[in-house]
């Protein structure tokens, strides 16, 4: 599903953000990408979304070679990847329903499809009753659930979550992790970027550990916790 072959990304400063990274994530996997800030996690997310181009190496997503996707084809490519951010990035002037519907409008989905899918997604994230609320009227956990609904409403094959629990307390963080696990069980490949060791340990999923731009560990928590 996601394959990186000897990928390096060098910014102008000269220090590589990613250095010869090779990763293979299968369809339906739940994977944590762990590392301290500045380790290259954000660069990896940007490369996967084709916001950046690798200096060296090749990235494949759903069998597509990213270097072969031209500018015009990027929107279609991105529709297959849902993204969730640490700071939720919801539109503050729109309510819960509109925020989720926005993702479908942007990809020019038919109105009747929007009316059908958005309530379903809001039920999935347990926010159907708050569909009229504005983001500022919701807790952090609820806002992140809206963001997850928005990321999933177009039925992507992959969900990328960049520090999804970074702004949440423990209770909310666990709720979000359980929701991501449920989404993964429904068949979506989930990649969570985090530095929260506690969550990674308890979830007991595959972890790819990045340090100074290099993959220094790949396996279950027990295998890499020594690093």
């Amino acid at each position: 599903m996601i394959k990186l072959e000897h990928v390096s990304k060098l910014y102008q400063e000269g220090v590589p953000a990613l250095d010869d990274v090779s990763i293979n994530i299968e369809k339906g996997e739940f994977v944590f990408i762990m590392g301290k800030s500045g380790s290259g996690k954000s660069t990896l997310i940007k490369l996967l979304l084709k916001e950046l181009t690798p200096t060296e190496g090749e990235i494949y997503i759903s069998g597509k070679k990213l270097s072969k996707i031209n500018h015009k084809a990027i929107p279609n490519f991105r529709r297959n990847i849902g993204v969730v951010f640490q700071n939720f990035r919801l539109l503050q002037d729109r309510n819960v329903y509109e925020n989720v519907a926005f993702a479908m409008k942007v990809v020019e989905a038919p109105t009747r499809e929007i009316k059908k899918r958005v309530p379903l997604m809001l039920s999935l994230v347990n926010l159907a009753a708050k569909y009229k609320s504005l983001p500022r009227q919701l807790s952090g956990g609820e806002q992140q659930r809206v963001a997850i609904a928005r990321a999933l409403v177009n039925e992507p094959e992959i969900l990328l979550a960049d520090e999804p629990t970074g702004n949440l307390d423990d209770t909310n963080a666990w709720e979000i992790m359980r929701l991501l696990e449920e989404i993964n069980e429904r068949g979506t490949t989930v990649v969570v970027v985090t530095h929260n060791a506690e969550i990674v340990r308890k979830m007991n999923k595959r972890v790819i550990y990045i340090k100074r731009g290099q993959v220094v560990g790949d396996g279950k928590w027990g295998d890499i916790s020594e690093i």
């Binding site: 539109l91 942007v106 990809v107």
Partner: protein, 305 residues
């Protein structure tokens, strides 16, 4: 070819108008400038068109007069007439015989004392004054025509109203020059202001645009609301001045016609429908065009999608 959904079109139009609303102050400034621009264009056009019409009417009265050598035959005169008629700049050629010249002179000179002219019944003082009155399409061509006429065999003298011709021609050119320069400056200001409005709109919606791009919005979808915004500003900014101009033009016409009756002989207005037949499409095309160009230019510069 990909078709665009009706719901997408309405969504983007809605977003375009929301942009205007969110960004009220800048939008208002842009609409006001556009209104001023189109209003002045309309004003210049209305005044210019009416003045041109007056100049044109005056030009029609300006003629070059050609007198012939003594003893010339009517056949030779006819030949000269045919040669003159062939010239492109000549609109009309009127032959005035010696008798007609005398009749016309009599009416003006002996007005009220017609009996004094009777002494000349059989002795036309203007016997050698048969002439051609030549009317031009464009008075600026007058001097070259005069040179040509003077070179013709059988032509004794050519009279021309050089000062009038040159003045009228120069005034016309000057008006056109001021008109064009002013409009160009105003268009530049309008494009600049619309561009500023769109730039602010992009800054305000920066986060929304970033999310749209990550979700998978096409470039055209991201750009569309801003294009709608620019066009809407242009459209509103051209409809307002058109309405103002319509009322103003009608009022001025009525006012001048009622208050300055003595002027109506030479101060005739072009009818409202004739002015607005040109002005409405001109203003709309210009308004929409400026709006489109202003937003398009800005998007190219500030919205890398």
């Amino acid at each position: 070819m990909t078709s665009v959904r009706f719901s997408t079109i309405t969504y983007n139009i809605g977003q375009g108008f929301k942009n205007i609303w969110r960004n009220k102050l800048f939008s208002l400034a842009s609409i006001a400038t556009m209104t001023a621009c189109i209003f002045l264009l309309g004003l210049f056009y209305s005044i210019g068109a009416n003045f041109s019409e007056m100049v044109h009417t005056a030009e029609e009265g300006v003629a070059v007069t050609v007198f012939f050598d003594a003893g010339i035959t009517q056949e030779q005169i006819d030949n000269i007439g045919n040669e003159i008629k062939k010239r492109g700049e000549v609109r009309d050629v009127k032959f005035v015989s010696a008798e007609e010249a005398w009749d016309s002179f009599k009416v003006e000179y002996f007005k009220g004392r017609e009996e004094l002219a009777e002494g000349f019944v059989n002795d036309n003082p203007l016997a050698n004054q048969a002439n051609y009155e030549i009317y031009l399409n464009d008075v600026s061509m007058q001097s070259s025509l005069v040179t040509y006429l003077e070179s013709l065999d059988g032509v004794r003298q050519v009279n021309q109203s050089e000062v009038v011709a040159e003045t009228l021609s120069d005034v016309n050119k000057l008006i056109s020059l001021i008109f064009v320069s002013f409009i160009i400056i105003l268009i530049a200001i309008a494009i600049f202001l619309i561009s500023n409005t769109i730039t602010t709109g992009i800054a305000v919606r920066k986060e929304e645009i970033a999310i749209m791009k990550l979700i998978g919005a096409k470039d055209s979808f991201v750009r569309a609301p801003f294009i709608v915004e620019g066009i809407a500003i242009g459209l509103i900014g051209s409809i307002i001045p058109l309405v103002i101009l319509l009322f103003m033009y009608k009022s001025v016409m009525v006012y001048v016609t009622e208050k300055f009756i003595f002027l109506t002989n030479f101060l005739t207005f072009i009818p409202v429908h004739e002015i607005f037949e040109v002005l409405v499409p001109l203003a709309l095309i210009l308004g929409i065009g400026i709006g489109y160009i202003g937003s398009r230019m800005t998007l190219k510069k500030h919205l890398k999608v």
